[in-house]
Symmetry: C2
Amino acid sequence: MQILNSKEKLLLFLAQNGAYTKSLAISTSALAQQLRTSQQSASRLLILLEKEGYVEKIIIGKTTLVRLTNRGLEALRDLYIQLREIFEKPMEIVLEGRVFSGLGEGFYYISLPQYFEQIKERVGFTPYPGTLNIQLLSKDSIENRILLEKLADIPIDGFVDGQRTYGKAKCIKALFMGEQEAAIIFAERTHYGKDVIEIIAPVYLRGKYGLRDGDKVFVKVILESSKQDKNIIEARVE
Amino acid sequence: MQILNSKEKLLLFLAQNGAYTKSLAISTSALAQQLRTSQQSASRLLILLEKEGYVEKIIIGKTTLVRLTNRGLEALRDLYIQLREIFEKPMEIVLEGRVFSGLGEGFYYISLPQYFEQIKERVGFTPYPGTLNIQLLSKDSIENRILLEKLADIPIDGFVDGQRTYGKAKCIKALFMGEQEAAIIFAERTHYGKDVIEIIAPVYLRGKYGLRDGDKVFVKVILESSKQDKNIIEARVE
DNA sequence: ATTACTATTTCCCGAGTAA
DNA sequence: TTTACTCGGGAAATAGTAA
Protein backbone atom coordinates (compact mmCIF):
# COMPACT_ATOMS: atom_id res chain seq x y z
CA MET A 1 0.00 0.00 0.00
CA GLN A 2 1.18 3.44 -0.83
CA ILE A 3 -0.07 6.74 0.52
CA LEU A 4 2.61 9.00 -0.90
CA ASN A 5 2.12 11.24 -3.90
CA SER A 6 4.61 11.33 -6.71
CA LYS A 7 6.74 14.17 -5.36
CA GLU A 8 7.25 12.42 -2.06
CA LYS A 9 7.85 9.11 -3.78
CA LEU A 10 10.67 10.72 -5.70
CA LEU A 11 12.24 12.28 -2.61
CA LEU A 12 11.89 9.00 -0.71
CA PHE A 13 13.41 7.05 -3.57
CA LEU A 14 16.40 9.37 -3.70
CA ALA A 15 16.89 9.19 0.06
CA GLN A 16 16.60 5.42 0.07
CA ASN A 17 19.34 5.29 -2.51
CA GLY A 18 21.62 7.48 -0.49
CA ALA A 19 21.31 10.52 -2.73
CA TYR A 20 22.11 12.87 0.13
CA THR A 21 25.81 12.09 0.34
CA LYS A 22 26.31 11.16 -3.27
CA SER A 23 24.75 12.07 -6.57
CA LEU A 24 22.78 9.38 -8.30
CA ALA A 25 23.17 8.65 -11.98
CA ILE A 26 19.68 7.77 -13.12
CA SER A 27 17.72 8.42 -16.30
CA THR A 28 14.20 9.78 -16.22
CA SER A 29 12.85 6.54 -17.68
CA ALA A 30 14.61 4.43 -15.07
CA LEU A 31 13.25 6.77 -12.44
CA ALA A 32 9.80 6.45 -13.98
CA GLN A 33 9.98 2.68 -13.67
CA GLN A 34 10.91 2.93 -10.01
CA LEU A 35 8.11 5.35 -9.26
CA ARG A 36 5.65 3.54 -11.51
CA THR A 37 4.92 6.58 -13.55
CA SER A 38 5.67 7.80 -17.06
CA GLN A 39 9.02 9.06 -18.27
CA GLN A 40 7.38 12.41 -18.93
CA SER A 41 6.14 12.67 -15.39
CA ALA A 42 9.50 11.72 -13.94
CA SER A 43 11.14 14.40 -16.04
CA ARG A 44 8.54 17.00 -15.10
CA LEU A 45 8.72 16.13 -11.41
CA LEU A 46 12.46 16.39 -11.41
CA ILE A 47 12.28 19.82 -13.01
CA LEU A 48 9.58 20.88 -10.56
CA LEU A 49 11.40 19.63 -7.48
CA GLU A 50 14.55 21.31 -8.65
CA LYS A 51 12.66 24.58 -9.03
CA GLU A 52 11.27 24.14 -5.54
CA GLY A 53 14.76 23.46 -4.22
CA TYR A 54 14.35 19.87 -3.10
CA VAL A 55 16.69 18.24 -5.56
CA GLU A 56 19.73 19.24 -7.51
CA LYS A 57 20.60 18.11 -11.01
CA ILE A 58 24.14 18.03 -12.29
CA ILE A 59 24.56 17.34 -15.97
CA ILE A 60 27.97 15.90 -16.79
CA GLY A 61 28.31 15.08 -20.43
CA LYS A 62 25.40 12.86 -21.36
CA THR A 63 24.59 11.55 -17.90
CA THR A 64 22.46 13.43 -15.41
CA LEU A 65 23.25 13.15 -11.73
CA VAL A 66 20.57 13.78 -9.16
CA ARG A 67 20.86 14.42 -5.45
CA LEU A 68 18.73 15.69 -2.61
CA THR A 69 19.42 19.16 -1.36
CA ASN A 70 19.42 19.90 2.35
CA ARG A 71 15.90 21.16 1.87
CA GLY A 72 14.82 17.88 0.34
CA LEU A 73 16.40 15.84 3.09
CA GLU A 74 14.91 18.06 5.76
CA ALA A 75 11.46 17.74 4.26
CA LEU A 76 11.68 13.99 4.68
CA ARG A 77 13.20 14.40 8.11
CA ASP A 78 10.33 16.61 9.28
CA LEU A 79 7.90 13.96 8.24
CA TYR A 80 10.00 11.31 9.96
CA ILE A 81 9.98 13.25 13.22
CA GLN A 82 6.21 13.69 13.11
CA LEU A 83 5.70 9.99 12.55
CA ARG A 84 8.20 9.10 15.25
CA GLU A 85 6.22 11.13 17.74
CA ILE A 86 3.17 9.08 16.92
CA PHE A 87 4.76 5.66 16.96
CA GLU A 88 7.35 5.99 19.69
CA LYS A 89 5.32 7.65 22.35
CA PRO A 90 3.59 5.47 24.95
CA MET A 91 0.15 4.50 23.73
CA GLU A 92 -2.64 5.48 26.09
CA ILE A 93 -5.77 3.41 25.98
CA VAL A 94 -8.80 4.69 27.81
CA LEU A 95 -11.85 2.65 28.75
CA GLU A 96 -14.86 4.49 30.05
CA GLY A 97 -18.10 3.25 31.48
CA ARG A 98 -20.47 3.18 34.40
CA VAL A 99 -20.08 1.53 37.76
CA PHE A 100 -22.47 -1.29 38.59
CA SER A 101 -22.83 -3.81 41.38
CA GLY A 102 -22.07 -7.45 40.96
CA LEU A 103 -23.22 -10.18 43.27
CA GLY A 104 -20.22 -10.03 45.55
CA GLU A 105 -18.22 -12.61 43.56
CA GLY A 106 -15.38 -10.11 43.37
CA PHE A 107 -15.01 -10.12 47.13
CA TYR A 108 -15.28 -13.90 47.24
CA TYR A 109 -12.60 -14.61 44.63
CA ILE A 110 -10.09 -11.94 45.63
CA SER A 111 -10.37 -13.11 49.22
CA LEU A 112 -9.29 -16.63 48.30
CA PRO A 113 -5.65 -16.84 49.44
CA GLN A 114 -4.58 -18.61 46.24
CA TYR A 115 -5.72 -15.68 44.14
CA PHE A 116 -4.89 -13.04 46.76
CA GLU A 117 -1.24 -14.05 47.02
CA GLN A 118 -0.75 -14.28 43.26
CA ILE A 119 -2.13 -10.79 42.76
CA LYS A 120 0.01 -9.43 45.57
CA GLU A 121 3.16 -10.88 44.04
CA ARG A 122 2.55 -10.50 40.34
CA VAL A 123 0.49 -7.34 40.09
CA GLY A 124 2.54 -5.68 42.79
CA PHE A 125 -0.01 -4.43 45.30
CA THR A 126 -2.13 -5.87 48.07
CA PRO A 127 -5.59 -5.95 46.53
CA TYR A 128 -8.60 -4.59 48.31
CA PRO A 129 -10.88 -7.64 48.54
CA GLY A 130 -13.38 -6.95 45.86
CA THR A 131 -13.65 -5.79 42.27
CA LEU A 132 -15.21 -2.69 40.80
CA ASN A 133 -17.42 -3.62 37.87
CA ILE A 134 -17.58 -1.23 34.95
CA GLN A 135 -20.09 -1.43 32.15
CA LEU A 136 -18.37 -0.02 29.10
CA LEU A 137 -20.19 2.73 27.26
CA SER A 138 -18.74 3.22 23.82
CA LYS A 139 -17.84 1.06 20.88
CA ASP A 140 -14.27 2.35 21.29
CA SER A 141 -14.08 1.20 24.87
CA ILE A 142 -15.41 -2.23 24.00
CA GLU A 143 -12.91 -2.60 21.16
CA ASN A 144 -10.13 -1.45 23.43
CA ARG A 145 -11.25 -3.92 26.08
CA ILE A 146 -10.86 -6.75 23.58
CA LEU A 147 -7.43 -5.42 22.61
CA LEU A 148 -6.32 -5.14 26.24
CA GLU A 149 -7.50 -8.63 27.05
CA LYS A 150 -5.08 -9.85 24.37
CA LEU A 151 -2.29 -7.67 25.71
CA ALA A 152 -2.84 -8.44 29.41
CA ASP A 153 0.54 -9.70 30.51
CA ILE A 154 0.16 -10.75 34.15
CA PRO A 155 -1.15 -14.32 34.40
CA ILE A 156 -3.08 -15.49 37.43
CA ASP A 157 -3.11 -19.27 37.59
CA GLY A 158 -6.17 -21.32 38.30
CA PHE A 159 -6.15 -24.03 40.95
CA VAL A 160 -8.11 -26.96 42.31
CA ASP A 161 -9.40 -26.89 45.88
CA GLY A 162 -11.14 -30.10 46.95
CA GLN A 163 -13.71 -30.75 44.27
CA ARG A 164 -13.94 -27.23 42.82
CA THR A 165 -11.84 -25.90 40.00
CA TYR A 166 -10.97 -22.20 40.05
CA GLY A 167 -10.25 -20.76 36.59
CA LYS A 168 -7.26 -18.73 35.57
CA ALA A 169 -7.22 -15.01 34.79
CA LYS A 170 -5.03 -12.29 33.28
CA CYS A 171 -4.27 -8.82 34.59
CA ILE A 172 -2.93 -5.62 33.11
CA LYS A 173 -1.81 -2.63 35.14
CA ALA A 174 -3.93 0.46 34.75
CA LEU A 175 -4.63 3.86 36.24
CA PHE A 176 -8.11 4.32 37.66
CA MET A 177 -9.40 7.82 36.87
CA GLY A 178 -6.01 8.45 35.30
CA GLU A 179 -4.17 8.39 38.63
CA GLN A 180 -4.95 5.57 41.05
CA GLU A 181 -2.81 2.45 40.74
CA ALA A 182 -5.05 -0.41 39.72
CA ALA A 183 -5.35 -3.35 37.35
CA ILE A 184 -7.96 -4.75 35.04
CA ILE A 185 -8.57 -8.42 35.73
CA PHE A 186 -9.87 -10.61 32.93
CA ALA A 187 -11.23 -13.87 34.29
CA GLU A 188 -11.10 -16.68 31.76
CA ARG A 189 -14.59 -17.78 32.63
CA THR A 190 -16.84 -14.93 33.53
CA HIS A 191 -20.57 -14.48 33.24
CA TYR A 192 -20.04 -10.90 32.14
CA GLY A 193 -19.88 -9.98 28.48
CA LYS A 194 -17.20 -8.18 26.46
CA ASP A 195 -18.70 -4.87 27.53
CA VAL A 196 -17.67 -5.25 31.14
CA ILE A 197 -14.35 -4.92 32.95
CA GLU A 198 -13.45 -5.66 36.54
CA ILE A 199 -10.96 -3.50 38.37
CA ILE A 200 -8.81 -4.40 41.33
CA ALA A 201 -6.83 -1.86 43.31
CA PRO A 202 -4.94 -1.53 46.59
CA VAL A 203 -7.71 0.72 47.90
CA TYR A 204 -11.49 0.63 48.16
CA LEU A 205 -12.30 2.56 45.00
CA ARG A 206 -15.97 3.10 45.76
CA GLY A 207 -14.93 4.65 49.05
CA LYS A 208 -12.04 6.74 47.77
CA TYR A 209 -14.04 8.18 44.88
CA GLY A 210 -17.49 8.14 46.54
CA LEU A 211 -18.84 6.02 43.71
CA ARG A 212 -22.40 4.88 43.35
CA ASP A 213 -23.92 2.66 40.72
CA GLY A 214 -24.30 4.48 37.43
CA ASP A 215 -21.39 6.88 38.00
CA LYS A 216 -19.15 7.45 35.02
CA VAL A 217 -15.52 6.40 35.48
CA PHE A 218 -12.54 5.74 33.27
CA VAL A 219 -9.48 3.54 33.35
CA LYS A 220 -6.29 4.28 31.48
CA VAL A 221 -3.71 1.75 30.36
CA ILE A 222 -0.33 2.99 29.20
CA LEU A 223 1.43 0.68 26.79
CA GLU A 224 5.07 1.56 27.07
CA SER A 225 6.80 2.66 23.87
CA SER A 226 4.92 1.39 20.89
CA LYS A 227 7.82 -0.71 19.76
CA GLN A 228 5.47 -3.57 20.37
CA ASP A 229 3.16 -1.58 18.19
CA LYS A 230 3.03 -4.03 15.33
CA ASN A 231 1.60 -6.56 17.76
CA ILE A 232 -0.82 -4.02 19.09
CA ILE A 233 -2.09 -3.33 15.62
CA GLU A 234 -2.42 -6.99 14.87
CA ALA A 235 -4.29 -7.55 18.10
CA ARG A 236 -6.80 -4.84 17.25
CA VAL A 237 -10.29 -5.68 16.20
CA GLU A 238 -11.56 -4.15 13.04
CA MET B 1 7.39 23.11 4.43
CA GLN B 2 4.95 20.41 3.59
CA ILE B 3 5.40 17.54 1.21
CA LEU B 4 2.31 15.56 2.06
CA ASN B 5 -0.80 15.51 -0.08
CA SER B 6 -4.24 15.92 1.41
CA LYS B 7 -4.93 12.24 1.98
CA GLU B 8 -1.77 11.80 3.96
CA LYS B 9 -2.36 15.01 5.85
CA LEU B 10 -5.70 13.66 6.96
CA LEU B 11 -4.29 10.32 8.09
CA LEU B 12 -1.43 12.06 9.87
CA PHE B 13 -3.80 14.46 11.58
CA LEU B 14 -5.95 11.62 12.84
CA ALA B 15 -2.94 9.71 14.11
CA GLN B 16 -1.51 12.78 15.80
CA ASN B 17 -4.78 13.17 17.63
CA GLY B 18 -4.81 9.59 18.81
CA ALA B 19 -7.59 8.45 16.53
CA TYR B 20 -6.33 4.89 16.59
CA THR B 21 -7.45 4.06 20.11
CA LYS B 22 -10.37 6.41 20.24
CA SER B 23 -12.84 7.90 17.80
CA LEU B 24 -12.56 11.58 17.17
CA ALA B 25 -15.60 13.82 17.12
CA ILE B 26 -14.81 16.35 14.42
CA SER B 27 -16.88 18.10 11.80
CA THR B 28 -15.77 18.31 8.20
CA SER B 29 -15.37 22.07 8.48
CA ALA B 30 -13.19 21.78 11.59
CA LEU B 31 -11.18 19.13 9.79
CA ALA B 32 -10.90 21.43 6.78
CA GLN B 33 -9.46 24.19 8.97
CA GLN B 34 -6.85 21.85 10.37
CA LEU B 35 -5.86 20.59 6.94
CA ARG B 36 -6.11 24.03 5.39
CA THR B 37 -8.54 22.95 2.78
CA SER B 38 -12.23 23.42 2.09
CA GLN B 39 -15.10 21.77 3.91
CA GLN B 40 -16.04 20.12 0.64
CA SER B 41 -12.60 18.63 0.21
CA ALA B 42 -12.50 17.39 3.79
CA SER B 43 -15.83 15.72 3.30
CA ARG B 44 -14.83 14.18 -0.01
CA LEU B 45 -11.49 12.98 1.38
CA LEU B 46 -13.16 11.37 4.33
CA ILE B 47 -15.57 9.54 2.06
CA LEU B 48 -12.71 8.49 -0.22
CA LEU B 49 -10.50 7.27 2.59
CA GLU B 50 -13.38 5.38 4.08
CA LYS B 51 -14.00 3.68 0.73
CA GLU B 52 -10.34 2.80 0.57
CA GLY B 53 -10.49 1.39 4.07
CA TYR B 54 -8.16 3.80 5.84
CA VAL B 55 -10.66 5.46 8.12
CA GLU B 56 -13.93 4.53 9.71
CA LYS B 57 -16.87 6.84 10.31
CA ILE B 58 -19.41 6.24 13.00
CA ILE B 59 -22.46 8.43 12.93
CA ILE B 60 -24.11 8.74 16.32
CA GLY B 61 -27.07 11.05 16.24
CA LYS B 62 -25.87 14.31 14.79
CA THR B 63 -22.15 13.94 15.54
CA THR B 64 -19.78 12.01 13.32
CA LEU B 65 -16.91 10.13 14.91
CA VAL B 66 -13.82 9.34 12.90
CA ARG B 67 -11.02 6.90 13.59
CA LEU B 68 -8.18 5.26 11.74
CA THR B 69 -8.61 1.65 10.79
CA ASN B 70 -5.77 -0.81 11.21
CA ARG B 71 -5.12 -0.27 7.53
CA GLY B 72 -4.81 3.45 8.01
CA LEU B 73 -2.48 3.12 10.92
CA GLU B 74 -0.37 0.56 9.11
CA ALA B 75 -0.08 2.81 6.09
CA LEU B 76 1.48 5.48 8.26
CA ARG B 77 3.56 2.88 10.05
CA ASP B 78 4.97 1.55 6.76
CA LEU B 79 6.04 5.04 5.85
CA TYR B 80 7.52 5.53 9.29
CA ILE B 81 9.59 2.37 8.97
CA GLN B 82 10.90 3.39 5.56
CA LEU B 83 11.94 6.78 6.88
CA ARG B 84 13.46 5.24 9.98
CA GLU B 85 15.65 3.06 7.80
CA ILE B 86 16.96 6.17 6.11
CA PHE B 87 17.52 8.30 9.18
CA GLU B 88 18.59 5.76 11.78
CA LYS B 89 21.08 3.79 9.79
CA PRO B 90 24.73 4.75 9.97
CA MET B 91 25.49 7.31 7.31
CA GLU B 92 28.27 6.30 4.97
CA ILE B 93 30.21 9.07 3.37
CA VAL B 94 32.58 8.16 0.57
CA LEU B 95 35.35 10.35 -0.77
CA GLU B 96 37.06 9.26 -3.95
CA GLY B 97 40.05 10.62 -5.73
CA ARG B 98 43.53 10.00 -7.09
CA VAL B 99 46.75 9.46 -5.20
CA PHE B 100 49.42 12.09 -5.65
CA SER B 101 52.81 12.79 -4.11
CA GLY B 102 53.43 15.64 -1.72
CA LEU B 103 56.83 17.02 -0.82
CA GLY B 104 57.41 14.73 2.11
CA GLU B 105 55.85 17.10 4.65
CA GLY B 106 53.59 14.26 5.74
CA PHE B 107 56.57 12.24 6.85
CA TYR B 108 58.12 15.27 8.53
CA TYR B 109 55.06 16.22 10.58
CA ILE B 110 53.88 12.76 11.57
CA SER B 111 57.42 11.97 12.70
CA LEU B 112 57.43 14.85 15.16
CA PRO B 113 56.93 13.19 18.55
CA GLN B 114 54.44 15.85 19.66
CA TYR B 115 52.11 14.99 16.77
CA PHE B 116 53.00 11.29 16.74
CA GLU B 117 52.05 10.72 20.35
CA GLN B 118 48.80 12.62 20.10
CA ILE B 119 47.74 10.60 17.08
CA LYS B 120 48.70 7.36 18.81
CA GLU B 121 46.61 8.21 21.85
CA ARG B 122 43.66 10.00 20.37
CA VAL B 123 43.19 8.33 17.01
CA GLY B 124 43.99 4.95 18.49
CA PHE B 125 46.72 3.57 16.25
CA THR B 126 50.44 4.00 15.76
CA PRO B 127 50.64 6.02 12.58
CA TYR B 128 52.90 5.07 9.74
CA PRO B 129 55.13 8.14 9.41
CA GLY B 130 53.69 9.82 6.37
CA THR B 131 50.39 10.79 4.82
CA LEU B 132 48.72 9.62 1.65
CA ASN B 133 47.53 12.59 -0.39
CA ILE B 134 44.33 12.22 -2.34
CA GLN B 135 43.12 14.66 -4.95
CA LEU B 136 39.33 14.49 -4.85
CA LEU B 137 37.59 13.88 -8.15
CA SER B 138 33.92 14.72 -7.91
CA LYS B 139 31.85 17.64 -6.68
CA ASP B 140 30.23 15.19 -4.26
CA SER B 141 33.57 14.22 -2.76
CA ILE B 142 34.61 17.83 -2.35
CA GLU B 143 31.31 18.70 -0.66
CA ASN B 144 31.63 15.70 1.58
CA ARG B 145 35.18 16.70 2.44
CA ILE B 146 33.95 20.07 3.65
CA LEU B 147 31.23 18.34 5.65
CA LEU B 148 33.69 15.90 7.21
CA GLU B 149 36.10 18.65 8.15
CA LYS B 150 33.27 20.14 10.21
CA LEU B 151 32.45 16.81 11.75
CA ALA B 152 36.02 15.72 12.47
CA ASP B 153 35.96 14.99 16.18
CA ILE B 154 39.54 14.13 17.15
CA PRO B 155 41.56 17.26 17.88
CA ILE B 156 45.31 17.31 17.47
CA ASP B 157 46.79 20.23 19.36
CA GLY B 158 49.40 22.55 17.96
CA PHE B 159 52.55 23.35 19.89
CA VAL B 160 55.54 25.65 19.99
CA ASP B 161 59.04 24.23 19.63
CA GLY B 162 61.78 26.81 20.01
CA GLN B 163 60.86 29.55 17.56
CA ARG B 164 58.54 27.60 15.32
CA THR B 165 54.81 27.23 15.81
CA TYR B 166 53.19 23.99 14.73
CA GLY B 167 49.50 24.36 13.88
CA LYS B 168 46.65 22.26 15.18
CA ALA B 169 44.68 19.70 13.19
CA LYS B 170 41.54 17.55 13.37
CA CYS B 171 41.09 13.89 12.54
CA ILE B 172 38.16 11.65 11.77
CA LYS B 173 38.36 7.88 11.66
CA ALA B 174 37.83 6.34 8.25
CA LEU B 175 38.14 3.14 6.29
CA PHE B 176 40.66 3.26 3.45
CA MET B 177 39.30 1.34 0.45
CA GLY B 178 36.35 0.47 2.66
CA GLU B 179 38.37 -1.81 4.92
CA GLN B 180 41.73 -0.52 6.19
CA GLU B 181 41.66 1.36 9.50
CA ALA B 182 42.77 4.91 8.81
CA ALA B 183 41.94 8.53 9.52
CA ILE B 184 41.58 11.68 7.52
CA ILE B 185 43.70 14.46 8.97
CA PHE B 186 42.69 18.06 8.38
CA ALA B 187 45.54 20.43 9.16
CA GLU B 188 44.36 23.88 10.12
CA ARG B 189 46.95 25.50 7.91
CA THR B 190 47.65 23.57 4.80
CA HIS B 191 48.83 24.62 1.40
CA TYR B 192 46.43 22.16 -0.18
CA GLY B 193 42.95 23.21 -1.28
CA LYS B 194 39.52 21.91 -0.36
CA ASP B 195 39.87 19.27 -3.04
CA VAL B 196 42.60 17.37 -1.22
CA ILE B 197 42.59 15.08 1.80
CA GLU B 198 45.47 13.54 3.67
CA ILE B 199 45.19 10.05 5.09
CA ILE B 200 47.08 8.54 7.98
CA ALA B 201 47.02 4.85 8.80
CA PRO B 202 48.85 2.31 10.95
CA VAL B 203 50.31 0.78 7.78
CA TYR B 204 52.15 1.99 4.69
CA LEU B 205 49.16 2.36 2.37
CA ARG B 206 51.15 2.78 -0.83
CA GLY B 207 52.91 -0.47 -0.02
CA LYS B 208 49.87 -2.47 1.11
CA TYR B 209 47.81 -1.48 -1.93
CA GLY B 210 50.63 -1.12 -4.45
CA LEU B 211 49.60 2.45 -5.13
CA ARG B 212 51.21 4.75 -7.65
CA ASP B 213 50.43 8.36 -8.38
CA GLY B 214 47.18 8.74 -10.29
CA ASP B 215 45.62 5.54 -8.92
CA LYS B 216 41.96 5.83 -7.94
CA VAL B 217 41.22 5.20 -4.30
CA PHE B 218 38.33 5.83 -1.93
CA VAL B 219 37.90 6.50 1.76
CA LYS B 220 34.72 5.77 3.65
CA VAL B 221 33.61 7.46 6.85
CA ILE B 222 30.78 5.90 8.82
CA LEU B 223 28.84 8.36 10.94
CA GLU B 224 27.23 6.25 13.64
CA SER B 225 23.45 6.38 13.83
CA SER B 226 22.24 9.58 12.29
CA LYS B 227 20.73 10.80 15.53
CA GLN B 228 23.21 13.61 15.12
CA ASP B 229 21.69 13.91 11.70
CA LYS B 230 20.24 17.34 12.20
CA ASN B 231 23.76 18.58 12.80
CA ILE B 232 24.99 16.74 9.78
CA ILE B 233 22.39 18.41 7.63
CA GLU B 234 23.22 21.79 9.04
CA ALA B 235 26.91 21.24 8.44
CA ARG B 236 26.30 20.41 4.82
CA VAL B 237 27.20 22.78 2.07
CA GLU B 238 24.58 23.62 -0.44
C1' DA C 1 19.55 5.92 -26.48
C1' DT C 2 18.43 10.49 -23.81
C1' DT C 3 15.38 14.92 -21.97
C1' DA C 4 11.60 17.76 -22.14
C1' DC C 5 8.41 20.25 -25.05
C1' DT C 6 3.11 20.64 -26.49
C1' DA C 7 -1.49 18.75 -26.60
C1' DT C 8 -4.91 16.05 -24.56
C1' DT C 9 -7.02 13.69 -20.90
C1' DT C 10 -7.78 12.80 -16.32
C1' DC C 11 -8.06 14.13 -11.73
C1' DC C 12 -8.70 17.19 -7.95
C1' DC C 13 -10.28 21.36 -5.64
C1' DG C 14 -13.66 24.43 -4.07
C1' DA C 15 -17.97 27.37 -5.02
C1' DG C 16 -22.69 26.88 -4.89
C1' DT C 17 -26.22 24.62 -2.90
C1' DA C 18 -29.63 20.84 -1.46
C1' DA C 19 -31.11 18.03 2.24
C1' DT D 1 -25.97 24.20 12.13
C1' DT D 2 -24.46 19.75 9.71
C1' DT D 3 -22.80 16.51 5.21
C1' DA D 4 -22.14 15.85 0.58
C1' DC D 5 -23.94 16.53 -4.03
C1' DT D 6 -22.96 18.85 -8.94
C1' DC D 7 -20.15 21.42 -11.77
C1' DG D 8 -16.60 24.56 -13.67
C1' DG D 9 -11.79 25.73 -13.64
C1' DG D 10 -7.28 24.49 -13.04
C1' DA D 11 -3.63 21.38 -11.90
C1' DA D 12 -1.35 17.17 -12.88
C1' DA D 13 -0.52 13.02 -15.73
C1' DT D 14 0.24 10.81 -20.12
C1' DA D 15 0.79 10.58 -25.33
C1' DG D 16 3.14 12.10 -29.01
C1' DT D 17 7.18 13.87 -30.57
C1' DA D 18 11.26 17.06 -31.28
C1' DA D 19 15.93 17.79 -30.39
